[in-house]
Symmetry: C2
């Protein structure tokens, strides 16, 4: 596994590294835009290249339900299907399936649930989750884990951890796609002892990377930061560390500060569609009437197409008129923001000034003017 | 007016020319993509440049209702607002307002109607329609005309023509924007004598171009072709001729064959969003299940981003999943198709082989495989 990941520099617990995938070398820390249904919503693969994204996330559950992994496999795999030359990490589908509380039943072998597309009864097991990811041909496949609710009591958490460990062994026994890495997932809720214990179990297995799951699922951000700050430095240093589904810019900076290498979150893309645009030290809501006649770009310093070419006034109009173009321009901007802060964080780590960079970025969020 | 428009070559009644606008020289015949609300739906101005579009249409009614022409004017005019360096023709708003039957009242001075955005009572007159277009700063402003229903009887048509003539004089008396051309509109329904009569009135005025309005509003295509074939060659040769709101590819080729220089239509963009994609000699409906696993591009010969990079299978998936990216890719393709047939028609005119080109293109529409 050491030939796949390399730490080039550290700054306290924070690290700058390289992750060598079958579809290119990814500089870490890295933010992975979420491409749920074989597209990062509103963007083309060319848009993602122009943004400088090198790795994106695909959702196994959604792709298996529609258009189906066999179909994607028949069309050459997920990379060819969506014409994306960079790397792809696929989740295991577990998170989506477990989120369907009331509509799914769990047993030791796997989970039975209903498709959100056509209501049909479907089943996911560690073996099938890995087989789907192999068919999709992602560069990194995630183990199929049991995701307990955020407010689960320690006995429930412990049972989910134990099952996740048994399922992790089954995931590793499955055949990956050629060149596909597999990452294990550490559960344990917000309990530091449980997290440490589960980390010990998962780290003992031959996963090429380790992830923290079950965070950013409703707990207070400070609690999440505390867990990450405690657990991340204890994760094996020679393997990439991935904090799943996180988060706000300040959460990502806190994660990097704790030694996390990889992040994904729908926040930049979803918020963009809702009118929430990130700017230096804060955000602006494009629905606010003050932007209707504002000649300035969303962010003077941003190199994205939306900021280089259009005014806040124009974006305000497109948002109000529900024009399709709004969603693309806003998504381009928010993803550029996320990619930039992580890229700048990497440079700050290499130059040994990460704490001051993070402090400057994490100043209290203010509404941009 | 002769310095603005030049016929370079003819091939029978068909002509290839140059239209010099304040925002670039436009090669004619030309198809103008429709940018109703300051965006060609789903596309950025950069997308339009990449397609090779040189002139687009903006809708005075929609822009006046939202975001308002004063606001656009305050932000530097429509070109700067939407960051479009090419030419813009604005319609007068008449067509939209007259389409609101039952919700508008017409008098000699103008039309009172209700805004579709907020239901407020609004009024459009020849003077205000021209003032709005001057505020928008379009390169070509259309006269405010009375658009009778397609099934109007000759007396109704005649009255609409007479009023359109009186309004045309008032439009010309209004102050245009600097460098703005003004086009008059010829009405007369499908009556050849009425069309000839009205053409005589409008052509006698100092409009820099002349348009045929009130066609493609429900009459059979053969009837429309007959009117165009009769009237277009009678329009002054030294001024550009614009067939408003037309049409299908074969309608445009028929128009070019009759000597029309300019076209606009929502067909390529609207059909794209509905899954209807144009291909050589026909079209395909991307909703058809046969395309789900089709590795081929929509059209092998098409240079658009959708065809260069993606398969029918991928577009089929995006369409079924209602992904925003679908609308952009499909729109890029259909507009590329329209722009290409008109560009190729121009080349065919210059090379003296337009009839054979048009015949080859106008073969019976077949569903592309």
């Amino acid at each position: 596994m050491s030939d796949r990941f390399e730490v080039l520099a550290t700054c306290g617990p924070a690290r700058a590294g390289l992750l060598r995938t079958s579809h290119g070398v990814v500089e870490t820390p890295v933010f992975m835009p979420v491409g749920t249904q074989a597209t990062v919503k509103s963007l083309s693969s060319g848009d993602l290249e122009a943004l400088g994204a090198r790795i994106i996330l695909g959702n196994t559950y959604h792709l298996a339900m529609r258009p189906g992994h066999e179909l994607i496999s028949g069309l050459g795999g997920l990379h060819e299907f969506m014409a994306w030359p960079g790397a792809i990490l696929t989740d295991s589908g577990g998170f989506q399936v477990f989120s369907q509380s009331g509509r799914r039943t769990i047993d030791e072998d796997g989970v039975t649930f209903q498709s959100h597309v056509d209501g049909s009864t479907q089943r996911l097991t560690p073996e099938s989750a890995m087989a789907i990811q192999a068919a999709l041909g992602s560069d990194i496949a995630m183990a199929f884990d049991e995701c307990p609710p955020s407010d689960a009591e320690p006995p429930v958490l412990a049972k989910a951890m134990e099952r996740t460990t048994r399922w992790a062994r089954r995931c590793l026994a499955a055949e990956p796609a050629v060149g596909q890495m597999r990452f294990g997932i550490v559960q344990g809720g917000t309990s530091l002892p449980l997290r440490e214990a589960h980390l010990g179990e998962i780290a003992a297995m031959a996963f090429e990377g380790l992830a923290l799951g079950g965070l950013s699922v409703g707990e207070p951000p400070e609690v999440m930061h505390e867990v990450v700050a405690h657990v991340a430095p204890r994760m094996p240093a020679e393997r990439p560390r991935y904090l799943m589904g996180v988060g706000r810019p300040q959460d990502i900076l806190a994660g990097i500060g704790a030694g996390i290498d990889m992040f994904d979150c729908v926040m930049p893309t979803r918020n963009a569609r809702n009118g929430h645009l990130f700017v230096a030290q804060g955000h602006l809501n494009i629905a606010n009437t003050r932007y209707r006649d504002d000649r300035r770009p969303v962010d003077e310093a941003c190199p994205c197409e939306a900021c280089r070419r259009y005014s806040r006034g124009y974006l305000s109009h497109l948002f109000r008129a529900k024009e399709i173009l709004y969603y693309r321009l806003a998504t381009l901007h928010n993803l550029q923001y996320y990619l930039n802060i992580v890229r700048d964080a990497r440079q700050a780590i290499i130059e040994g000034r990460f704490p001051s960079y993070a402090a400057a970025q994490s100043a209290p969020m203010a509404v941009g003017e």
